[in-house]
Symmetry: C2
DNA sequence: ACAGGACTGGACCGATCGGTCCAGATGAAA
DNA sequence: TTTCATCTGGACCGATCGGTCCAGTCCTGT
């Protein structure tokens, strides 16, 4: 009987990631997470000694890895940088359509609450920079003249675009994101 | 003795706006709001019969008005659209520097939690669109060829830029936002 | 076979949550 | 001065919060 696949730790991490993204760190109780993950409290505090906070850090890391894989896949298949950006935007739009459309960026929902928690903020910073690093590496590979700025631009429009798509409940905002990018500044002949 | 200025309703609204922005809707308890606003529970439920939810809607509206005023002021003083954007970015950077630098967009912090609340989402949409409308009107006034798109672009880079500034703890991200805007698409000679 | 760490199950805790209720204070109109 | 609606003050409520604790179970190495 395999009613509960994987090990308990992964089940907890992934369930928590999903629920935190849906309702934010403070919007989800341990009871709900434990019920959905079919795990008792003892297991949680065995795998995550600091409780909810440890769980949130692990959940955010897991969600971040998924996003970084998505970025890597989009650029690996691409002919040039711009094509990679376009592919990524379309795939994120698809992701948006297949999710309850009020969800936030998983990192922000999980880690950008609770005022005085330095560990959360530092962790969020690290995860975000790992996305940006990934993009920058591809920008370099494609010979973009200002890879740092290009990576920052993509991060900015993705974050802001998701927010606007959420408000308007319209994934086309995400598909049109390449229109908001100053491509002339990223041309090879610069 | 004027220990408590203004009327109770405004004190509650503004205190709630500040605390919600700091810790999110679910991150602030009524007790904390009431203590800081120096008001008892009876007053809260007199002015806001539906309790925390009514209070959040009012707080978000109040915060939104402040932001819209800021947008209007930046563009009213400006020579052209681009100058207005630059001014706005610098003022927002200043605002960022003078606040605890982990705060979110006040609308998002207050209204973009709790999964199934349609009223919150609709209200957030309305408030965001009021910002975008304000920008679009100025874009039209300055003769920008694609005012809708220009307004969307500004919203997107402001939201995304704030997020990146927050992660990096660096307000210069906001000051450099104009570098991420495709100005050639907003030129008059189009 | 058995020893011992890894892991599970869940009862239990004090604190805090959002919300209800109503007596008392206040102030303007009659 | 009396009246009445508005507003304030705070005691009180059941539910849920995150966290603790430990007995019991399972698995692995010897």
């Amino acid at each position: 009987m395999t009613r509960r696949p994987q090990n308990t730790r992964d089940r907890l991490t992934q369930t928590a990631a999903r629920l935190f993204q849906r309702s934010g760190y403070n919007g989800v109780g341990l009871t709900e997470i434990l019920t959905e993950a079919q795990a008792p409290k003892g297991s949680l505090y065995h795998h995550f000694p600091k409780g909810k906070q440890d769980l949130a850090l692990a959940a955010a890391s897991w969600a971040s890895d998924g996003m970084r894989d998505m970025i890597a896949a989009a650029f690996n298949d691409a002919q040039d940088f711009r094509a990679g950006v376009t592919t990524l935007c379309h795939r994120i739009a698809k992701l948006f359509d297949s999710s309850p459309q009020w969800e936030t960026c998983p990192i922000a929902a999980t880690l950008f609450e609770s005022p005085d928690n330095r560990a959360f903020r530092d962790h969020a910073d690290r995860l975000y920079e790992s996305w940006i690093d990934e993009v920058r590496d591809h920008a370099k590979r494609f010979g973009i003249p200002q890879p740092d700025m290009a990576a920052d631009t993509l991060f900015i429009v993705m974050q802001g675009g998701w927010q606007l798509a959420r408000a308007r409940r319209d994934s086309n905002v995400l598909r049109r994101l390449p229109d908001h990018v100053p491509w002339d500044r990223f041309q090879h002949q610069d």
